[in-house]
């Protein structure tokens, strides 16, 4: 009896929080679909006006912004993933001098707020002649992503039984081969979870794009959305449509990988 009551309570609490999380999303989707000419309130429903998306796309110039975002995100996530796997392996399983110190230095990248780095980064990139290029968006984000990714992959690799790695060594496999052939297939959920997280963070990055690029072509989608919002403060429907366009890729990636994502998160929580 108690168990059933506990279950009902758990369901209720989780339901309430899910609603809190879902309501703004539903609200913005509904608003994006409203008739732009009638002045309905936020989140109310008055039909499906898909034309809003076309207007937002053209008005907001989202095509180039999304292209920019895709270039940055794909480069950052793919390079950071490979580097994180390799450094996570090294920190988890190799014994080398200064490993611990190096690891803590790397963790600093996770702990220092990005806002404190942005000004020095700005001047560094001007000196390097990389200001207002894709590199100004890509390189700093690879840095922060590898800090997290190494930490994440190290936690995973430490859960793999040592004997499996030793068996591979006795079988004549090099560290390189052990990593890619033996460990990586095991690490799939952890890697995919990391990919989703890095994708999300890189996609949503705003401050860096605001400071480091000037050319319109190079602007990423969230930055473009920022400017778009600035220009169209009155047209709530159009704003919502723009927001949905910018958020959609993250939702799609998450939807594709969510099964692995949840598995990775749960195993990380239990074992990591």
């Amino acid at each position: 009896m108690t168990q059933r009551r506990e279950q009902a309570m758990a369901t209720t609490i989780l339901g309430v929080f899910s609603l809190i999380a879902l309501l703004p999303i539903v609200g913005i989707v509904l608003t994006a679909l409203q008739d732009p000419d009638t002045l309905s309130g936020y989140g109310s429903f008055d039909g499906l006006h898909f034309d809003n998306f076309r207007r937002a796309w053209e008005d907001g110039n989202f095509g180039p912004y999304l292209r920019s975002s895709v270039i940055v995100v794909v480069t950052v996530v793919s390079i950071a993933t490979v580097l994180s796997i390799m450094s996570g392996y090294a920190f988890a399983l190799m014994r080398f001098r200064g490993a611990q110190v190096l690891f803590y230095v790397l963790l600093l990248g996770l702990m220092v707020p990005f806002e404190t780095l942005i000004v020095p980064l700005y001047y560094d990139f001007i000196d390097l002649g990389l200001y207002d290029t894709y590199w100004a968006l890509i390189l700093p984000q690879i840095g922060t992503s590898v800090a997290f990714g190494s930490f994440w992959m190290r936690a995973f690799f430490r859960t793999v039984p040592r004997s499996v790695i030793e068996a591979a060594r006795l079988d004549g496999a090099s560290s390189w081969l052990t990593l890619w052939r033996v460990l990586l297939p095991l690490a799939k959920p952890a890697v995919l979870t990391m990919v989703v997280l890095l994708f999300m963070w890189t996609w949503n990055e705003f401050l860096l794009a605001l400071v480091m690029v000037d050319t319109e072509e190079l602007r990423t989608a969230p930055l473009g959305l920022g400017f778009f919002v600035g220009r169209n403060t009155r047209d709530l429907t159009l704003l919502s449509a723009g927001a949905v366009i910018v958020a959609l890729p993250v939702v799609i990636v998450y939807a594709f990988l969510q099964r692995h994502f949840i598995r990775g998160m749960v195993s990380g929580a239990v074992k990591g």
């Binding site: 039984p161 004997s163 499996v164 030793e166 068996a167 591979a168 060594r169 006795l170 079988d171 004549g172 496999a173 081969l177 033996v182 297939p185 095991l186």
Partner: protein, 368 residues
């Protein structure tokens, strides 16, 4: 196949010495078991032989080759791990083939070896499965198979049976023995289970606190333990011990302990104080016609009835002695019983150092 040799091998972990100067020769084709309680250094010794731990001091050779600095994959050894350590995402076939592919064997040769190992270990039907779909016993056989296909110079086994249930353990034990006998590959096998050691080993090396206590055949270890530790570790139930003062009495030696007194006729010279070691079968419930030393009187503390035989824990003069009785004994804890000792099977150890005191004809005193 090859011999294995440890020469004054030492292993330190930080300030802790796990292996303290071990020298051991394993001959070509021999089945050598390293046995000892946990923390005795047996696994560390095996891991140094595998190349998974660096040697702090001393030399390890496989055949004539000094292997101290040689990578595990190049030592031509194969290891069976306690937790099997199969590659979880590969099929059984790929698990067996992984090491062969690293050695650039032809596809046909790999196929031939895997199929043969599959037949020998009766895992032919499992080749397409993944380790997660195997029972403990099957996974164990696959782990053995992975070592077998490599056809290495030395097999290393680190407690490979300890995760199996008792029945399967016994069955697999027999199988490992048979396989090793058929193939004849030098094997170093680590276990904490002395029964496993006794049944498997051509020779056994008993370790404790990082040092070798004794190396010998199972019979030698059982009959002539080099010291009190080996006597107590090998054999089940364990050897019982009691301390006595000795006094020469013409041809005999009188042994006086706390509440017990024995006269041993024809005994050799013994120091003033000795520890007597008694195997359970050397202590029997008293019968006049058996020529036992005694009788000694004691109080029954526990009775272990195994059906075919019974072991009785008897407390006498502050010592506890396990007494053997054929068949069933109608005894209860608290009963007083008389028992006697088989003179030829008594073992004497120095009370100070625990070392065996030997006479010309073995460890025990000469029979009268």
């Amino acid at each position: 196949m090859a011999s294995v040799s440890f020469k004054d091998v030492v292993k330190h972990f930080g300030g802790v010495t796990a292996v303290a100067g071990v020298s051991l020769e394993v001959t070509d084709g021999e089945f050598m078991v390293l046995v000892g309680p946990s923390g005795s250094g047996k696994t560390t010794a095996l891991r140094m032989l595998a190349g998974l731990e660096a040697v702090s001091e001393g030399e390890i050779r496989i055949g004539d080759r000094l292997v101290n600095k040689i990578a595990p994959g190049e030592r031509d050894v194969a290891m069976v791990f306690q937790d099997y350590a199969l590659y979880p995402q590969m099929t059984v076939y790929d698990n067996l083939a992984f090491g062969l592919r690293r050695r650039k064997l032809s596809k046909q040769e790999i196929d031939r070896r895997v199929t043969r190992a599959g037949e020998m270990l009766d895992i032919g039907a499992l080749l397409k499965r993944k380790p997660g779909q195997l029972s403990g016993g099957q996974a164990q056989r696959v782990a053995l198979g992975r070592a077998l296909v490599r056809d290495p110079q030395v097999f290393l086994m680190d407690e490979p049976l300890s995760n199996l249930d008792a029945k399967l353990r016994m069955q697999t034990r027999g199988e490992i023995k048979r396989l090793q006998h058929d193939i004849g590959t030098t094997t170093v096998y680590v276990t904490h289970d002395q029964v496993e050691a006794m049944t498997l080993g051509d020779r056994i090396a008993v370790m404790s606190d990082g040092a070798l206590e004794q190396v010998g055949t199972p019979e030698e270890l059982y009959d002539r333990p080099a010291n009190r530790f080996v006597g107590s570790f090998i054999g089940s139930p364990a050897m019982s011990f009691f301390e006595v003062a000795t006094q020469r009495d013409r041809d005999a030696v009188r042994l006086r302990g706390d509440g017990l007194e024995l006269s041993v006729p024809g005994a050799p010279e013994l120091p003033a104080e000795v520890t007597v070691g008694v195997r359970p079968e050397a202590a029997r419930v008293w019968r006049d016609d058996e020529g036992l030393l005694g009788p000694l009187r004691g109080r029954v503390e526990y009775v272990e009835a195994l059906g075919r035989e019974t072991f009785v824990g008897v407390e006498t003069g502050g010592a506890q002695i396990v007494v053997h009785h054929d068949g069933r004994a109608s005894l209860l804890p608290g009963d007083e019983i008389d028992f006697g000792l088989v003179q030829a099977d008594l073992r004497f150890f120095g009370t100070d150092d625990g070392l065996a005191l030997r006479s010309e004809n073995g460890a025990g005193p000469a029979p009268s």
